[in-house]
Amino acid sequence: MSDAAAKPAPQVVETAAPAAVVSIGEIFLEFLIIGATSFGGVVPYLRGSLVTKRHWIDDKEFVEMLSISQSLPGLNATNMAILVGEKLRGWMGSVVAILGICLPGAVLMFAVGAFYRVHGDHVWVTAALKGVAAAAVGLILSTVVSLSKKALSHNFDFVFMAATVLAVNRLHWSVPRALVIVGILAILFHRPQGHHERSELAR
């Protein structure tokens, strides 16, 4: 909130109603709707709702928040809820946003869990689940491909990617160990270039 106060309403462009205070109830309801309708991936629904429909944030903010969400641990969906909620109404906004986005899926999965417990070994259920699991593998692979196209900035990145896979699946490193060791190597590989930083590093 102090951020919003510090800058006088920026630019003339359609910066969406920045002054109007969004109520806690509205935030909860909007994220509840997203949580209940976002089949097949939350991000497009978030954009459609927060940027296009509600004008709570603009596209530039959305992209920036998404890039922060992706760099931090945690799911994009919940990190976005925290960031947008915080921007709108501080910590209370964050709390109701994450509650709203999680609640429908959580209730649904609770029901699924109860059903599976009773009928999980029925032949029809196991047959359908076998297909579902195989489809999910294909879905994850497609995410790997599209993320690689979007997020990798250097061909050598594929070496880091392969090293991570080998460390976890072959060497049976724990995820944090792989993350820290390969992560640090990769970050050093992508260290800031340019003369200023170079000379500073040399010292």
Binding site: F110, R117, A127, G131, V145, A178
Partner: protein, 175 residues
């Protein structure tokens, strides 16, 4: 036996591993929930993860099922909070600082460096899951089919998972 403390420990730990997505925590989740605590079997874990892909909202809501099976409604709630609490808090605290670091040259380095590692973790999680989910030619064909369709067409992935269920129903039901 009271599983609540173990649920909190395991899921708070898994929470921090979800770099780049929930799947990054999958290999560790398999070890802790299946092998160490035996809250469910590996096929069950694969099943509920996959069904979870059809549910709306954040795509790791399947953790609710593990909590439920281990310790009922309370277990489900505790698991939810343990899994989403730590990263939520981190996002809340770090977000502002991260925004201020826009000009810091290492910020880009960290983003560019973490990208291949997080994709690698996703792929590692995928392979762990594939070991249980791809059991023959048919399941392999479904996975490849879904992959190709998604790469080629803009279609809601949840629909393809539903299609997987239908194909499974017809091809894997014993005659």
């Amino acid at each position: 036996m009271n599983q609540i403390p173990a649920l909190i420990r395991v899921f708070a730990y898994l929470s921090i591993l979800t770099v780049g997505g929930g799947m990054a925590a999958f290999p560790e989740m398999k070890i802790l929930t299946v092998e160490v605590h035996k809250w469910l079997t590996f096929p069950q874990l694969i099943h509920i993860y996959s069904v979870g892909q059809m549910a709306p909202g954040p795509n790791m809501m399947m953790i609710v099922v593990i909590g439920q099976w281990a310790a009922g409604l309370l277990g489900a709630i505790v698991t939810l909070i343990a899994f989403f609490g730590p990263t939520a808090l981190l996002a809340f605290v770090v977000a502002k600082a991260w925004r201020k670091l826009e000009k810091w040259p290492w910020r880009t380095s960290i983003q560019q460096g973490l990208a291949p590692v997080s994709i690698g973790l996703l792929l590692a999680g995928c392979f762990t899951m594939a070991k249980g989910a791809i059991t023959g030619l048919e399941t392999g064909a479904i996975a490849v089919g879904v992959l190709l369709v998604l790469l080629q067409y803009k279609i809601n992935p949840a629909l393809l998972v539903v299609a997987g269920a239908v194909i499974g129903l017809f091809s894997f039901t014993p005659k």
